[in-house]
């Protein structure tokens, strides 16, 4: 086997140097491209007033950056769920055809009025929120 000459040594040294240099560059590039954490979000948010919600129609409110549907059920209790379909995140729609339910127009998932997934590809129920009332103000907290 031939002894490596000076040129071979330089070639290998250069390749090694390029490889070692590339590692931190790639790592820093990946960090640069990865978005930072979102600004702190509030745990409990006052989203609206009870007067905003008709007895027979749920309404979507804004909880930080998330759409949340709030409804008044036949027992007179306020319930809230994330309005994001658990399939691929589209915002669900209140529908009355075939009985009141939430439907996702993107891929046809359906949820009953308690948020449970009853049809289509959605894998889970809508994520529930805890509702607290302070007078007429509705406060939501992520469960």
């Amino acid at each position: 086997m031939n002894e490596p000459n000076r040129r071979d040594f330089l070639k290998r040294a250069f390749a090694l140097w390029a490889l070692i240099s590339a590692v931190p560059v790639v790592g820093m590039l990946a960090q640069y491209l990865t978005p930072g954490k979102a600004a702190t979000t509030r745990e409990t948010v006052m989203v609206g007033k009870t007067d905003d919600i008709p007895a027979d129609t749920p309404k979507i409110f804004r909880f930080n950056k998330e759409p949340v549907v709030v409804l008044l059920n036949p027992a007179g209790q306020y319930k809230a769920f994330s309005a994001r379909c658990t399939h691929l995140g589209c915002v669900v729609q209140f529908q009355t055809e075939g009985g009141p339910h939430f439907g996702c127009n993107c891929h046809g998932s359906q949820f009953d009025m308690s948020g449970k997934n009853v049809a289509g590809p959605a894998p889970r129920p809508l994520a529930p929120f805890r509702v607290n009332l302070d007078g007429k103000s509705i406060y939501l907290t992520k469960v």
Binding site: P35, L88, V92, Q93, P121, P123
Partner: protein, 356 residues
């Protein structure tokens, strides 16, 4: 061969640039003539529509404003206030659709003719890369008008890969630029659409065309050439020009008779409207996602779709290396069947999505 000095400008140029050499290089390529030669025209048509995209995209960039506050209004302004703006936008949108259609025809015809076999493996690989780049153009451009369909299509498109093991969530955060689709997402989509993807695409298209110039077009295994090959330049190039003229005519008819619409402004807190769908070329994926149950045995439905897409992608890039029969110059009915199956599935799901 010396360049004929029949024009002062060309003569002046040929004294300073290798014009004659370029002309000779163009004339050196010939195009085979056989019963499947017709399909060669779609490569040129794809290139033509890419050129239309570049020109109209440059024009739209003069008015478009990439921010959630102004994107929708700027597109509405292009359509309603800018002179001929509606036409430029309509041509851009229709041309994008025709480009993808031509690309699919070009790709599947190359697949069925086994044009990927030696020595054209690199041409196939660069073409497969261009397919994904063009779909990337479509996906990134779709959000830019910031209307309801654009918003939800992007939302779904960025949710689907999340189930991919290891890189899924991180990869999606790279595309979105934030946890929710918003200003950061629009900025990233815009810069990808107008800077990164065009630069990469131009480089790969140049490579693809250069390879085609060097290796020429492939004749399918077992297909007899009816007549002597035709010189590419200028003879076949004139045929390309006729096809481009027809393509342009079809594009103008579509763009003027069916102007591209603009939906309502995106509202992340409004329900997705009924009938919402992505562009037709994503319908096979859309329909598969709609059909597959949430769980198949213990495996997440989207993960299965991702695995199918990943496997097909790897297969598509590997075709020249795994189709050994074609590599030996023999007929390869298994790969023909796979191609026909894929085309049938695409047509079936597009039909299902259209009619249901």
């Amino acid at each position: 061969m010396t360049f004929p000095r029949n024009s002062n400008i060309l003569g002046w140029l040929s004294d300073r640039l290798p014009v004659g050499w370029l002309r000779e290089a163009a004339a050196a390529k010939s195009v085979p003539r056989h019963k499947h030669s017709f399909w060669y025209i779609f490569g040129g048509l794809t290139l033509f529509f890419f050129g239309v995209q570049l020109v109209t995209g440059l024009l739209l960039a003069l008015y478009y404003q990439p921010s959630p506050e102004h994107a929708y209004e700027s597109v509405a302004g292009i359509v309603n206030d800018v002179q001929h703006g509606w036409l430029v936008r309509s041509i851009h949108s229709w041309s994008a659709n025709l480009l993808v259609a031509m690309l699919f025809i070009h790709m599947f015809s190359a697949f069925l003719m086994k044009a990927y076999r030696k020595p054209r493996e690199l041409m196939w690989l660069s073409g497969a890369l261009l397919l994904f780049l063009m779909l990337g153009f479509s996906f990134t451009g779709f959000l830019l008008p910031w209307d309801t369909t654009a918003y939800f299509a992007t939302l779904i498109g960025t949710e689907v890969p999340k189930t991919m093991p290891i890189i899924g969530t991180w990869g999606v955060s790279l595309i979105k630029g934030a946890e929710e689709i918003g200003e950061a997402t629009l900025t990233r989509m815009y810069s990808l659409h107008v800077i990164y993807l065009p630069l990469i695409a131009l480089a790969i298209i140049s490579f693809h065309v250069l390879l085609n110039q060097l290796s020429g077009s492939s004749t399918p295994v077992g297909t007899a050439e009816r007549r002597p090959p035709i010189r590419f330049f200028p003879n076949y190039f004139y045929r390309d020009l006729i096809a481009w003229g027809l393509g342009l005519a079809a594009l103008l008819v579509l763009a003027t008779m069916l102007p591209w619409g603009l939906g309502d402004k995106a509202d992340p807190f409004a329900s997705a409207p009924s009938g919402i769908r992505p562009e037709w070329y994503f319908w096979p994926l859309y329909e598969t996602l709609r059909m597959i149950p949430a769980q198949v045995l213990w495996i997440n439905g989207e993960l299965i779709v991702n695995l199918i897409v990943g496997t097909l992608t790897i297969f598509w890039f590997s075709v020249p290396f795994i189709d050994r029969r074609s590599a030996r110059g023999e007929r390869s009915p298994v790969f023909t069947a796979i191609g026909v199956l894929l085309i049938s599935y695409m047509l079936l799901t597009i039909g299902l999505a259209y009619f249901t």
